[in-house]
Amino acid sequence: MSPLLALLLFPLAAILAIIIGRFPARPTAGVAAGINLVISLGLIWNYPAAQGGYAYVMDYPWVAIQGLPSIRFHLGADGISLPLIFLTGIVTLAAIAISPANIRRSSEYYCYLLLMSLGAMGAFTSLDLFFFFIFHDFALIATFLLIGIWGSQNRQYASFQVTIYLMTGSLVLLTGFVALVMALPPAERTFDIVALQNYITGHPLSGSTQDIIFLFMLIGFGILVGLFPFHSWAPPGYASAPPAAAMLHAGILKKFAIYGMIRIAIPMLHDGFNTCLPLILALLAGNFLYAGFVTIAQKELPTMIGFSSIMHMGYLFLGVACWNTIGVTGAVILMVGHGLSAALLFGLSGEITNRSGENRFIELGGLAKRAPVLAVLFSFASMASMGVPGLANFAGEIMVFFGSFSAVPTSSLVMLGIPGAFIFFGMIAIYGTVMTAIFQLRALKNVFYGPMPARYQPQTAELGAGGEATLPFPGMTDTSALVEHGPYVLLIFASLVIGFMPFLMIHLVEPSVTLLPFIKT
């Protein structure tokens, strides 16, 4: 028995309590998520951070058939997965807290949110490829239903697009996993990540095999994370999803792919990684340059945030691609930072859309007068996303930049005649922060500051002559209730703590990162 099992059992118990026991959905889900957050903090507290490695291990044979690769129910967490477990805990709580209490078919809604959280939790705690994969996949069905039932605009199209796109990615990924396991001699075949890693460290696969399998995994993970050019599912999907689902998916579930790169693809297929490195770098440059400019051109708030979350995947890929301690540590911290800021932005954009009934920039403006607290929260979220010092994203991004500047190009890059490749791509990433500043500040200005939309001005003036003026955005007021703003404050607080005290995270993450195979200092 491991405390990690509790992280999976509490959401499950809450789901059963809601469906079978007819417990009130929102409080039950909230309590389960709260307990999980507390447990995850306790796990981090208790984790022997200085030495790294897996803790809280539980290992139980699951499928053992003669002649078939064995599957084990193997849970464990180290300094790389614990921050993500914490992220899952906190974002789930926030997502449940920002959901309206009177949403229609509320018991189903909260069950699906819990299922998504359960899927993410399971994926981050599993040390078996099979469970790693299936936990992620059954979160996708919950995503499909959440977008389809509670989404906005063209939810039908978006939910089908997202689900089919992501299922394609996960099947490609599954093929990669199967190929990896089957590439081993029959007696050594297993889905257990630790056993696989141990065997492969001693007996690396041949170069060409590694190249092919790594390409499968890169495409699979790339689709799931929205690596350019496999990103087209994300912006419309996030724009149509209910805010809580977008928070959970963009904040947590998408990190599954980066985590998989760190945990599985790069350590086990390192030659394949080196061969594919130019490709990875080219694609992540696409994330910065293509997705970045597209983000700037967006005219609606949710789509813009969707594109920006795609663009920010470039930093994570760059940090991972450096494969040195500082770069990977930075990527892990940035995963947490981006998870918090993406959750904030999606939650707040949903809040703005709901209260004002608008999400087009041209129809918004000057909302800070009507909702000052919301404006402050959104400013924090924008700053976090831009990587302003003092917030968690900065800590991660700066480490990724350092990582990219100190990374030594591999032979495949030198052969292509670009020895300074990493510095070049680091520069692109730094340019990415400039682009982020452009679109985030413009969004802030267009939504909260500046004049109210022109068409309201003469109208209010003329009407104002005779008594009460009709205000634009009738629902757009600030509520003073802590319940409404609490979740955002919680997320900002977490981001501030990590931003001001990044050593908390570095102490937790770095020792485990140094244990990764082939990692450069």
Partner: protein, 510 residues
């Protein structure tokens, strides 16, 4: 002259046939109500199931009845499989669907005969027995498909099934004649020895015979290009019979396919040259046609008909993967090609659970909804959460989404295909599995997103509730705790041909 065990190995088939005959007489003379007949039939199945479970579980093969029959792990597994299918079919026919206009008794009793035929198929070791058993299955299906003879759709289905079924039987017999004429025997093990031990070359005539036999079998498993009956017959037949056809007939076809291609003709001259390329083409065609033709379907039964053609494709990949000739060397039976056989059986278990879950829901809905088009499902989740959840899980399992049992099945198909180097097939498996998501999600969308036209809740009786919940638990349970499915198929393999058979071997004169 027979070993003493021979009757006991055939006891399940004998008991169930006698039971069915007795029931036919009782029903005629005592004028029992269909409900009583159904209970008695279920009791008979329970008894047979008990006896089959009690039969010695030795994986070493036993030949009996002069080599007509063979008892091995696969025979035992398929016997149990068919009995469970029959129990569900009879229960469905009696409980879940609309009462028939006339003559309920035979509708419950005939599936017992079909089951006896299917069980004989599973242990056939001789082309003659295979043909007789197959005819028992097919003829009882002719009656069952066209049972609602006042309905035009049912009649159309019946006639189509009759004509195409007759044609395919004719092909099969013709093929058997060729094989018998050129090898001098109809027994599987002797034909195997004819090629393996005595090293005879494969003559074109036998190849042609094998081709004809595969045509006949292809019809049973709804393999493209012999699939055209499936959607129409699925639509026209009563729901319980559609489920029976979909699972029972397909499993029966697959076991004889495995007995013939894996048990007899699994040597390079026949496999690599002949049936592997042939089945590869048919599997690809089934995958593509089944999964893509299902997309525009609006009628749920037709959609499931096309999807069952697609599932045939997935299972064929595993059958091909079970061939020992692929790796180019004859390897011990238990290690390598056991993959493929186990995968076929695991796939069938998950297919059984999902298909029956889907068709029980459809049977319940048929008398409560104006029709069985996708849009009629609108808002089902508000009218009956249990029906909606069962149907959703059935479809999602068929689509192969973890952690349901269908995922395990597809996962092992991918594993086998990769392991045996069937990369082309693997590509099509993945490609069509993705296409399948699209049409499986359609009814889910209707059930959960669309607003109901009619708000009245649908109430189910206690038995239906219980069966549906049991199926849900099994769908999730066998997926999550996959060991259970592998435990069920453990040792359920075709007999090892290298092991000595217990019956004397007839002289081969050629």
């Amino acid at each position: 002259m027979f070993p003493p065990s021979c009757i006991s190995y055939l006891a399940p088939e004998v008991i169930i046939s006698l039971w069915a005959m007795a029931l036919l007489l009782l029903e005629a003379f005592l004028e029992l109500s269909p409900r009583v007949v159904a209970s008695l039939a279920l009791a008979g199945i329970a008894l047979t199931l008990f006896i089959t479970l009690g039969l010695g579980f030795d994986t070493s093969s036993t030949l009996f009845w002069g080599g007509m029959c063979r008892w091995d792990g696969a025979a035992r597994f398929f016997d149990l499989f068919f009995l469970i299918v029959a129990a569900l079919v009879i229960w469905m026919g009696d409980e879940a669907q609309a009462p028939l206009a006339h003559g309920g008794g035979e509708f419950v009793i005939l599936p017992l005969f079909t089951t006896a035929g299917l069980m004989l198929l599973a242990s056939a070791n001789d082309f003659m027995l295979l043909f007789v058993a197959l005819e028992l299955v097919t003829i009882s299906f002719y009656i069952l498909v066209a049972y609602q003879r006042r309905s035009l759709v049912a009649l159309e289905a019946g006639v189509k099934y009759l004509i195409l079924g007759g044609l395919s039987s004719a092909f099969l017999v013709m093929g058997v004649a060729y094989i018998f004429g050129l090898t001098g025997t109809t027994r599987f093990d002797i034909i195997w020895k004819f090629y393996h031990l005595y090293g005879n070359p494969l003559t074109p005539g036998v190849s042609f015979g094998l081709l004809l036999v595969l045509t006949g079998v292809g019809f049973k498993i709804a393999m493209v290009p012999f699939h055209s009956w499936a959607p129409d017959v699925y639509e026209g037949a009563p729901n319980s019979i559609t489920a029976f056809l979909s699972v029972g007939s397909k499993a029966g076809g697959l076991i004889i396919l495995m007995r013939i291609v894996l048990g007899v003709f699994d040597f390079p001259a026949a496999s690599v040259v002949l049936w592997i390329p042939l089945l590869t083409v048919c599997a690809i065609a089934s995958l593509i046609l089944g999964n893509f033709a299902a997309i525009p379907q609006r009628n749920l039964k037709r959609m499931l008909g096309y999807s069952s053609i697609g599932h045939t494709g997935f299972m064929l990949v595993a059958v091909i993967g079970a061939s020992v000739s692929l790796t180019g060397k004859i390897i011990p039976f238990y290690t390598e090609n056991a993959y493929g056989q186990i995968t076929v059986e695991v796939y069938l278990i998950s297919y059984l659970l999902a298909t029956f879950a889907a068709f029980i829901v459809l049977a319940v809905l048929e008398r409560r909804l104006p029709g069985l088009e996708i849009h009629h499902l609108a808002g089902l989740s508000q009218r009956s959460p249990l029906l909606a959840a069962t149907f959703t899980l059935a479809l999602v399992s068929m689509a192969g989404v973890p952690p349901l049992s269908g995922f395990i099945a597809k996962f092992y198909v991918i594993l086998v295909a990769w392991h045996q180097g069937l990369y082309l097939l693997l590509g099509f498996v993945i490609f069509t599995a993705i296409a399948a998501f699209y049409y499986y999600l359609g009814p889910i969308k209707a059930m959960y997103w669309s607003e109901p036209l009619d708000e009245t809740p649908i109430r189910l009786n206690r038995a239906t509730n219980g069966v549906l919940i049991a199926l849900i638990v099994l769908l999730i349970g066998t997926g999550f705790w996959a060991q259970s499915m592998f435990g069920a198929v453990n040792g359920a393999l075709l007999a090892d041909k290298n092991a000595p058979a217990s019956a004397p071997i007839a002289l081969v004169r050629h």
